[in-house]
């Protein structure tokens, strides 16, 4: 009996330490299952290309949402905001005939501005963000229906559609893959140096070599598989770039550190001179900006602005964050975790669609997976505080 106890606690430790590995393992199992069930169809290049494209919208929202949750807030309005901004870009280009790039710039600015409004309501007027989000969810959706007369706006110009439908040229993809590998090597070396100086345990060489090797293999495999389809879809590249930018923000910048501090202990942060209001405002603004990105991609992909675009998007984004190990109470979480969460959600959607699972069952399964993932996360936390 004692033996069993030790092994279960060891398992816990392993799990807690290698959360990323565990998430990837779960993802692999999900993929394996669908691969088996669809007679290999799930992992064909076209299908993977489609999966990543599908994931990119949720991923963009998750990038912003993870910061919001780390800061100890929540934003339920993002699905409607995505729809509204996607509708706006369609209205500007189709109904008003504006230049595409000007419209995109205006929509990005509008997204940031609407995010700022959400943030201002939360921080300045001190309405709880849950309520602001709930209100926004209704109001933004209503605004979208009002401005589109509840009809689909189509067709959008080709250059707008290209944002979601274009592919990166194969050569350029290879270049980017090489860049990623070089960057990973440099970052790993830098981290080893830093850990050494911090007096933290430096992982054995083979372990880091394995990690770099795995990332390199993934990058190469990724480009190889996608080049067999049409290439890397442009939104996927945008999402990768966003992953880089957001990881950099959270790990390297003063602002990023302040997000974690504010979410971990608001009072201690305020008394340390952190401008809590500004941190939260900026986080909400970034969320609005991400809604604009996601809205534009959604409209471009459908080649139309739909009044029902983005319904349920907030739930997918929030679920992605929690599946990716973000803490409900704020103060901890990672961008890459949230993106793996988004990939899990998209895989479930995509796989079950290919299996022709009834949509009601799809919802039940996704709900169960979310609860299961968070339960595992909570159960493997080393200690409650």
């Amino acid at each position: 009996m004692t033996n069993m106890k030790i092994s279960s606690s060891e398992l816990r430790l392993l799990f807690a330490r290698h959360k990323l590995l565990a998430m990837l393992l779960a993802l692999a199992l999900i993929w394996l299952f669908f691969w088996h069930q669809t007679n290999g169809g799930f992992l064909r290049p076209n299908s993977i290309s489609n999966l990543l494209l599908q994931m990119s919208v949720t991923g963009m929202l998750a990038c912003g949402m993870v910061l919001i949750i780390i800061a100890g807030e929540i934003d339920l309005s993002v699905g409607s905001l995505l729809g509204l901004l996607g509708g706006l870009v369609a209205i500007l280009t189709v109904n008003l005939g504006w230049n595409t790039w000007l419209s995109v710039a205006v929509v990005l600015a509008a997204g940031a501005a609407l995010g700022l409004i959400n943030g201002a309501l939360t921080t300045r007027l001190r309405v709880p963000s849950f309520i602001v989000g709930l209100g926004g969810m209704l109001a933004y959706r209503g605004l979208l229906q009002l401005s589109t007369d509840s009809v689909t706006i189509a067709p959008v110009p080709d250059d707008l559609g290209a944002i979601a439908q274009a592919f990166v040229p194969p050569g350029l993809s290879w270049g980017i893959a090489v860049l990623i590998i070089v960057l990973t090597c440099c970052l790993t070396l830098a981290r080893r140096r830093r850990h050494h100086r911090l007096g933290l345990k430096v992982p054995p060489r083979w372990m880091d070599a394995l990690k770099v090797g795995a990332i390199g293999a993934t990058a190469i495999g990724f480009v190889m598989v996608l080049n067999q389809a049409y290439g890397v879809p442009l939104p996927v590249l945008i999402l990768l770039a966003l992953l880089g930018v957001f990881s950099w923000i959270t790990n390297q910048t003063v602002f990023g550190r302040h997000i974690y501090a504010v979410g971990g202990n608001v009072e201690a942060s305020r008394l340390s001179g952190v401008n809590v209001m500004r941190v939260k405002l900026l986080v909400f603004m970034l969320m609005g900006l991400m809604c604009a990105f996601a809205g534009i991609v959604t409209t471009a992909r459908a080649a139309a602005g739909s009044p029902s675009a983005g319904i349920g998007g907030e739930l997918d984004a929030i679920a992605a964050c929690f599946i990716g190990g973000t803490s409900m109470r704020g103060g901890s979480g990672t961008v890459y975790g949230a993106l793996i969460g988004a990939l899990v959600m998209a895989s479930l959607d995509n796989g079950m669609q290919q299996m022709n699972v009834d949509t009601s069952w799809q919802m039940i399964v996704k709900g169960a997976v979310l609860v299961l993932a968070v339960w595992i996360d909570v159960a493997t936390r080393s200690e409650r505080t």
């Binding site: 004692t2 830093r194 850990h195 100086r197 911090l198 007096g199 933290l200 390297q252 910048t253 003063v254 602002f255 550190r257 302040h258 974690y260 501090a261 971990g264 202990n265 009072e267 201690a268 942060s269 305020r270 008394l271 340390s272 001179g273 952190v274 401008n275 803490s327 103060g331 901890s332 505080t385």
Partner: protein, 474 residues
């Protein structure tokens, strides 16, 4: 005086965390009507011992025996221990503020009528009886707990323990938020409980209280049992010697220094209560602090020391007015960030709530206030950040295996050093310290005093808020 068998006994308790011993061979025993003082520095293993004792760690997770009235006690959980009659009163109050006094006293232990209805008349009556035993007769037991102050609430907790028919009460730093008068009431009630045959274990850093209320004192250090002596044979310095393992010749590393010009002046500061805007918490208070001066601000709990200081610092939640002058110029401070920009830094009283960010590492906590100093434009230069952190850890003797560990894993004294270091890195002109050594052991206290005196030598003014600052007024 105590001829009976021990009520409670621990024999050779050993508790390890993944191979590292936290307790190695602790023995202690309490007889009915006896009060045992448990002394030890932060990190000596007192909390671990209490968790073993109260059943937080189930009986097969440690080695050794726990005897209750001569029979082995095997608690699987805290409720098993409570059923036996062991009740622990935590440092933080464990009351539900919105519920009534009665509801709190019987929480989880309610008297029932049929269909699960609460038997309010019986509970109110019993609650009033219990409170009368504690000499509280002016309490409306149907009113919410939040209507009463900390001193009363502490007594409600005792009433709750008595309602469970506790025979061994464990007090963990019970007086850390009580005023001198409330402490006296609490200690006299412990005397009464002893007379009624209740056994007590009293854990406190305040040795005067331990000397006053305990019959026997057990000292532990580094998880080991050091000594158990009747209190009559010990004095405070003797206990300290046993706790730290060497005689601390100077408890206050005082140095003489010249006091300079006035750096901080607050004029006519008034604050109004947050929930009751009619009530003044601070009425036209003023102060002056000179460079290199250490100013003590005395006052009982509730006297308005904390409110006064947070109003100066721009952190007071309610309405406040007053003028603040820094280095001869009037400054406008609306937020703590403004205060810090003018060279005012605050070390708050409540370390857990206002001092540390528990999930973040020691390093990240130390540089939280001064992070922009290590930034090139927006990116943090981790090299220079780390260099500073390591220097601070060495200078303040912060005990941590690595600066990358979460700050919550440190002991209270070391957490306090982290908070102090965080504010000192802003190179303040004036450092405001609100009870900076609360819940901190003697060794760490010495380090903290030393750091303040070092800062004063460099011309930094400090103002201390202390309940008991007789030893400090400069």
């Amino acid at each position: 005086m105590f001829s009976q068998q021990p009520l409670f006994e621990m024999r050779d308790i050993v508790k390890e965390f993944s191979g590292v011993p936290a307790l190695s061979g602790i023995n202690l025993s309490v007889r009915p009507g006896e009060c045992l003082g448990l002394c030890g520095e932060n990190g000596a293993g007192k909390s671990t011992l209490m968790k073993v004792l109260s059943g937080v760690y189930p009986y097969d997770s440690y080695c050794g025996q726990i005897l209750w009235e001569g029979e082995e006690l095997r608690s699987r959980s805290t409720s098993d221990s409570e059923r036996a009659g062991i009740v622990i009163l935590h440092q933080e109050l464990m009351l539900v503020q919105q519920l009534s006094v009665t509801e709190n006293i019987f929480l989880g232990n309610e008297m029932r009528l049929s269909c699960g209805r609460m038997n309010y008349p019986a509970m109110h009556q019993r609650a009033a009886e219990l409170l009368a035993r504690l000499k509280l007769t002016d309490v409306n037991v149907a009113a919410p707990v939040m209507n009463y102050g900390n001193g009363h609430q502490q007594l409600f907790e005792i009433a709750r323990a008595l309602a469970k028919e506790a025979r061994l009460l464990i007090f963990d730093e019970p007086t850390s938020s009580l005023s001198a008068k409330e402490i006296e009431v609490l200690l006299s009630i412990i005397d009464d409980l002893k007379r009624a045959g209740v056994a007590c274990i009293y854990i406190s850093h305040k040795l005067d209280e331990v000397m006053r209320v305990c019959d026997t004192i057990t000292v532990i250090r580094d998880g080991k049992h050091i000594a158990t002596h009747p209190v009559a044979t010990l004095d405070e310095n003797g206990i300290i010697g046993l706790m730290v393992g060497r005689a601390l010749e100077a408890r206050f590393p005082r140095t003489e220094r010249q006091v300079g010009a006035v750096v901080l002046e607050a004029r006519d500061v008034s604050c109004w209560d947050v929930t009751n805007p009619q009530r003044k918490r601070v009425d036209n208070a003023s102060l002056q602090v000179r460079a290199g001066e250490i100013l003590g601000i005395a006052g009982l709990v509730g006297a308005g020391r904390t409110e006064f200081m947070s109003a100066i610092y721009g952190a007071y939640a309610g309405r406040s007015v007053g003028e603040v002058w820094v280095a001869g110029q009037v400054v406008h401070i609306a937020f703590p960030a403004d205060a810090i920009a003018h060279g005012l830094c605050l070390v708050p009283e409540d370390r857990k709530r206002h001092g540390i960010v528990p999930q973040m590492s020691v390093a990240e906590n130390i540089t939280l206030a001064s992070l922009s100093d290590y930034a090139r434009i927006v990116r943090v230069d981790s090299d220079s950040e780390l260099a500073t952190v390591e220097r601070e850890i060495a200078r303040l003797r912060i005990k941590t295996a690595s600066p990358g560990l979460p700050v919550a894993s440190l002991s209270g004294g070391n957490q306090q050093k982290v908070v102090l270091s965080k504010m000192a890195l802003k190179t303040p002109k004036v450092l405001i310290l609100d009870e900076p050594t609360r819940g901190v052991d003697i060794g760490a206290k010495y380090d903290i005093y030393k750091m303040i005196f070092d800062l004063a030598d460099r011309g930094v003014a400090s103002s201390w808020c202390l309940q008991n600052c007789l030893r400090f007024s400069v």
